[in-house]
Subunit: 284 residues, 2 copies
């Protein structure tokens, strides 16, 4: 007899929240409509996305299955709107926290993602993820936004998703921003962009707000934090450690000796959730 | 040995969502900070409020304990902001659904609330609640709102919380409303007000949008639905049945022979949730 009740865990990394769906043997049919239903904050549980935990060798995509020798578990990441995404800097920490608490790993590990294998390590209450290399772009768009006085010069950077970073003068300018509507980027990057507004609050410290492509203002954005630090560090990128304060908390950014950007931050699992059978049946 | 893990159920009535906390023997200390933490949609589970289920005879308030002879269970209702509320038309259906599914009642019942004992009955997938008498008020404020052309005459009514109801000409006018900011009511009721905008879509049918006092636009408001129907029915109030379409679904309104307003609508429990011990400990 199989118990058909769907079980997930809810967790978050700097207030970017996820439902972790343990499905090691790849038996759960996670349709876009079920993802949307689970992530609906009033009629479902509510989250920014679903992280399905699957053995990498059982992934449907050949590119992912090819990671099986390096990474035992695959983060099958679904956005709240039902679409599939490659990677998520906050999500991968929550995913790693699940692997650790479930006893599936002990110590540093590699996690399979659609964006390649990610190296993860644990330290006290935090988790570090190797986010890969950044690439500065040639574009230098100007940015206007509600609450922003005049236009600001921006720097474009891939992490590897596209970002545009704008440095403001002080906290007051950052607080005055209204990101309910998307900032106007001229010219916009061809793929669209996440827009990070930063203020220097110390020698290696930033405060940041972010408008995510297709989402709106969010409490945190893992790749955005990395992009902002690379831009702020300028010629010093690759050395030392930076602290970034975002509305959802605090993360740290450093580099590996080979120049990969490492994002470190908290990740917690707060609850186990068991969906009612009739609810799940109605949304499959 | 006691298991200290906090368990709640998540449910909703026309997308007004709640966490039901079974605590028949009144042993859970539900502080305002724990309520806020549970209702936080990113760092908690997320809901519009918490409905604690307690034996009425164990309630702390003498006024509620006095209901014990009539109602075995008390709906100890807490808003998401941690404040205490008297009653909630959608919440009491979700509360009743819990009593039914937990096997605590079989058939029609009476539920204790800070707003008095409420009679509840079940029919197919819906639950009916006797919401008490409405009282038309003498005030006739005018209302302006973003997206609304000109000012509209409103009717004020207590259900028993204060409402202001405005009838618009057609669906287009209703759809054009922007309720992100509160409508301007002149003069405002001394206690503030919920504001309902309605359009007649049939002989005994309304479409409605609502701005709730201190909350903003919501997907549904039980007392608002009742207030809107009483105003729309005018001299025919007390007879027949009305259908009200709201963003979160559909409810029906009728009257008892003694003139009480009866609200009927769906209520579902979608999941059982078990909070992590360290999370609960951090928010007590």
């Amino acid at each position: 007899m199989t118990d058909h009740r769907l079980r997930v865990l809810k967790g978050h990394g700097t207030e970017n929240d996820f439902l972790v769906l343990p499905d090691l043997d790849a038996v759960v049919s996670l349709s876009p409509s079920l993802v949307r239903a689970l992530c609906d904050r009033h009629t479902g549980i509510g989250a920014d996305g679903v992280l399905r935990v699957v053995r990498t060798k059982l992934a449907t995509e050949p590119d992912v299955r090819a990671q099986a020798a390096e990474a035992e578990y695959f983060m099958d990441y679904h956005n709240a709107d039902g679409s599939i995404a490659e990677m998520c800097g906050n999500g991968v920490r929550v995913f790693a926290r699940y692997l650790e608490q479930a006893g599936l790993i002990a110590g540093p590990t590699a996690i399979g993602t659609r964006g390649g294998v990610k190296q993860v390590s644990f330290s006290a209450d935090e988790i570090s993820v190797d986010m890969g290399a950044s690439r500065l772009r040639l574009e230098r768009p100007v940015v206007a936004a509600t609450g922003l006085l005049g236009e600001y010069q921006a720097i474009a950077i891939d992490m590897p998703n596209p970002h545009v970073v704008i440095e403001l003068d002080d906290d007051a300018a950052l607080a005055a921003l209204d990101l309910a509507t998307a900032p106007l980027v001229t010219p916009a990057l061809p793929e669209g962009q996440n827009v990070e507004f930063i203020v220097r609050t110390g020698p290696s410290r930033l405060r940041m707000r972010v408008h995510e492509r297709g989402v709106g203002e969010t409490r945190s954005c893992g790749t955005g934090i990395c992009a902002a630090v690379v831009v702020a560090a300028g010629e010093n990128a690759g050395h030392g450690e930076w602290l970034v304060d975002i509305p959802g908390g605090q993360c740290r950014v450093s580099w590996t000796t080979s120049g990969s950007v490492v994002l470190t931050g908290p990740a917690v699992l707060i609850a186990e959730v068991e969906l009612a059978e009739d609810w799940t049946a109605a949304h499959r």
